[in-house]
């Protein structure tokens, strides 16, 4: 038993080193790519894209289920986007609150019998509305069918060749659509989809549907999530994208060819990780056809979103993410390790299975066994301290590197105290939060075993008071 526990402790530690070594590699790639991206901003010519009659239209799809608290601000920010031709398609997925009513009041909606494509089957559409004041606003009211179903209804209703998917509790920065679409416009034959960065809006000052003052969240939990999002978007996505192995375009901000989404069959309804699943399915679809393509990530455009500030809500979200990850990996299991799917099959999919899905097993059992074994005297105190030093040191280094990326390239947090707060939370994150996070994700295994489905309630606080900049 002693030997088994010692070996397992070492295996878990080795797993941890490989995982974090991979993160370090992605961080290095992200630093390299950020430099190129920063220099490329000098000759990006977004103004030219904006005034060009050749720029294709984009339909921004906003699925909404009981979003009365945030939907008006969200739609305002989307209508005010700086893009030459775009429409906003809000899909109310059987909302039981005043989502439709507040939109009617705010945007003077009129019922219009809009013709909808039937390329992807969805739950029945009850009614469609067009705004009298903003003709590029279309609202679809449909029976409840889940987020994927709402997105599919939005794709069916979209009138432009590209669709940009965002969450109702999110706000795009004015130039975000131009920036996220630029790579596709520059190379429409190669780029199949692009995604942008998600940032956390909690405690930021929002006015006229826009973030006007970026602040670190006051909530401790939200502050730690800022660090998580920085690592996920500015490091992991940028790194994976540079390997052409980006496995997920976030459901909160992604741009796709509409016809590609239709051809691939739309969003899969039997999952809570529909964004991950669609991204993998697009990879699979295009690889199986032998078509050259890229799925890219652009770190500069930003979508601001509200994150949970309560443990219970965050726990539900992370358990749901774990389920979504499993559902996507399981559905596309034949891609894992399959050379037919190139780097996505040989690297990204095994990574998702071994280092994303299974990480709570190794992290929790490894830590538990190491601590217990040290208490029982099986491990030397020196080894135990060295173990902690490496674990915490590596975690701190990765988080600080992500924060430095943000500071060097984007500098969104202007107050010194905000940056100091984020740095301080990089320490707290390693001393308790990571472990708690792993526990939530481990509970996700139980949800999977129990066959749990659905999203659960997601309370919204709203972005604050504002008035219409377009009125």
């Amino acid at each position: 038993v002693t030997e088994i526990l010692t070996v397992y402790s070492l295996v878990a530690f080795f797993y941890f080193l490989v995982l974090n070594g991979l993160y370090l590699f992605l961080t290095a790639l992200a630093w390299r790519d950020m430099g190129s991206e920063l220099r490329a901003r000098r000759y990006l010519a977004l103004d030219e894209v904006f005034r060009s009659p050749l720029t294709p239209g984009v339909s921004v799809i906003v699925p909404a289920f009981n979003e009365q608290a945030v939907i008006v601000d969200s739609v305002r920010s989307l209508l005010a986007l700086r893009y030459p031709r775009h429409e906003v398609v809000v899909v109310s997925d059987g909302s039981t609150d005043r989502t439709i009513a507040v939109l009617e009041e705010e945007f003077d909606l009129a019922p219009v019998r809009v013709a909808l494509r039937n390329g992807i089957s969805t739950a029945a559409v009850r009614a469609t509305y067009v705004s009298r004041t903003h003709p590029n606003l279309l609202v679809v009211d449909k029976e409840n069918g889940g987020r994927s179903d709402a997105l599919n209804a939005g794709v069916n209703a979209a009138r432009n060749p590209y669709v940009c998917v965002i969450d109702a509790d999110s706000m795009l920065e004015p130039d975000a659509l131009l920036k996220v679409s630029k790579p596709i416009l520059d190379d429409p034959q190669l780029l199949a989809a692009t995604g942008g960065t998600i940032r956390i809006v909690n405690s930021c000052r929002v006015d006229y549907g826009r973030v006007v003052d970026v602040r670190a969240p006051r909530s401790r939990l939200a502050t730690i999530q800022v660090l998580e999002y920085l690592r996920a978007f500015l490091v992991a996505r940028v790194g994976w994208s540079s390997l052409n192995a980006l496995g997920i375009i976030s459901g909160a901000f992604g741009l796709f060819h509409r016809s590609l989404v239709e051809t691939a069959g739309g969003y899969w309804k039997d999952t809570v990780g529909e964004d991950f699943e669609l991204t993998i399915r697009i990879h699979r679809h295009l690889r199986e056809r032998g078509e050259p393509y890229r799925i890219g990530f652009v770190s500069d455009p930003v979508c601001w979103t509200e994150v949970p500030e309560q443990f219970a809500t965050l726990s539900r979200q992370r358990r749901r993410w774990q389920r979504g990850l499993w559902e996507g990996v399981r559905r596309h299991r034949r891609m894992i390790g399959n050379p037919r799917y190139g780097v996505i099959g040989l690297v990204a999919m095994p990574y998702f299975l071994i280092f994303e899905f299974l990480s709570p097993v190794f992290a929790l059992t490894g830590l538990l066994i190491t601590v217990v074994w040290w208490i029982l005297g099986g491990l030397s105190t020196f080894y135990f301290i060295a173990f902690l030093l490496v674990s915490i040191g590596l975690g701190l280094l990765l988080t600080t590197a992500a924060l430095a990326l943000e500071e060097f390239n984007y500098h969104r947090y202007h107050r010194r105290r905000d940056v100091a707060r984020l740095l301080a939370y990089a320490v707290f994150e390693n001393l308790g939060y990571h472990q708690l996070h792993d526990v939530w994700r481990a509970i996700g295994y139980l949800d999977i075993a129990r066959g749990k489905t659905g999203w659960g309630a997601q309370p919204r606080r709203g972005f604050g008071t504002s008035t219409d900049p377009l009125a």
């Binding site: 720029t55 219009v112 013709a115 520059d186 060295a386 280094l397 600080t400 500071e407 500098h411």
Partner: protein, 335 residues
């Protein structure tokens, strides 16, 4: 064991080092931003007076950071100015050696420097750089080619029409970037585009026809009519779209015939074009398409009909076989 501890210490030391660099850089950038902000405030009126005055103003004597900020301001203004102001801006950059500096960077080993130089030269208003920018259209890096194309358009370099078209057609430039540069050059590009519309390559024909639609005038419509019978669907679509943009009334009959094309995209483009050219005969032809064609052509036809004859759309929407597109168009008309 000891190695493990050392590794842990190295990680912690790396973190501390990053934090120190982060704090130092932050302070440095803050100071830089403050200085730059003050310079912009101070130099903006000088730059405006320089480009805007009726009488030729002498270029201000500036050095170091001041000179950089002034150049940035002039470059930005150059994007929205024409005429005498251009001459003054070009003279300034020639006198200060800015043009030569950027021309030198156009041959840098680093691609981002070449791209930045190609982009910046477009804001310097100096037309003598056109041959160098044309040469940059053959650069091995796409970003450089794109920046050069953008600058050629900005400089109104009509002599670059041929290479721009060649680069766009060969795929050296994205269609949108090459197209936009040609749009900046305007109608002088049309004769060559008309020649290219007879190319043996369908992609060249459709690209050229699309740009004729954007740059040309009603007189350019005639050569496009034949392309409505082109064997390539993409060319027929581009031709219908271009004829609509040109508002070519003489194309109406041919466009009506195109409503029977076997390819839905062509029918949709023809319907949209008929909405732009208008006429009773167009309305008569659009109604059945709006009623019963597949999605895209039917939607395009209903919208086109609403544009030509809104009352007829509203009446048709009450008919039992109206279809969803006529009903939508009618509802939108009623708004």
């Amino acid at each position: 064991m000891r190695l493990l501890a050392y590794v842990g210490v190295v990680f912690l030391a790396g973190t501390l080092l990053l934090i120190v660099v982060l704090v130092a850089r932050r302070s440095f950038l803050r100071r830089q931003a403050k200085v730059r902000g003050e310079l912009v405030e101070r130099l903006r009126p000088v730059a405006i007076a320089f480009v805007d005055s009726q009488e030729p103003e002498p270029a201000p004597e500036l050095h170091g950071r001041e000179s950089e900020v002034f150049a940035e301001l002039l470059g930005r203004y150059a994007r929205s100015l024409r005429g005498a102001a251009w001459g003054r801006i070009a003279a300034y950059f020639e006198a200060t050696g800015g043009v030569d500096e950027q021309l030198g960077r156009l041959h840098s080993r680093r691609a981002w420097r070449r791209a930045t130089a190609a982009f910046t030269l477009g804001d310097m208003c100096a037309r003598r750089v056109v041959p160098e920018l044309v040469a940059a259209l053959d650069d091995r890096v796409r970003d450089v080619r794109m920046a050069a194309a953008r600058s050629l358009g900005r400089l109104g370099a009509v002599e670059a029409i041929e290479p721009l078209i060649a680069s766009t057609i060969s795929g050296g430039l994205p269609r949108d970037v090459g197209g936009l540069a040609l749009l900046d050059l305007g109608p002088p590009a049309v004769p060559r585009l008309v020649e290219l519309s007879s190319s043996t390559e369908p992609a060249i024909r459709s690209g050229a026809i699309e740009l004729i639609g954007l740059l040309g005038e009603a007189g350019n419509a005639e050569p496009l009519l034949d392309h409505l019978r082109d064997p390539a669907a993409g060319v027929r679509t581009a031709s219908a779209t271009a004829l609509g943009r040109l508002g070519a009334g003489e194309a109406r009959d041919a466009l009506v015939r195109a409503l029977d094309d076997r390819v839905p995209d062509v029918r949709a483009a023809a319907a949209r074009a008929l909405g732009q050219t208008g006429g009773q005969r167009a309305a008569d032809a659009l109604l059945p398409v709006a009623r019963s064609d597949v999605f895209e052509p039917a939607r395009a036809a209903a919208q086109a009909l609403a544009r030509i004859d809104p009352r007829r759309v509203v009446e048709a929407a009450f008919e039992p076989d109206a279809g969803p597109h006529l009903r939508e168009a009618a509802d939108l008309v009623s708004l």
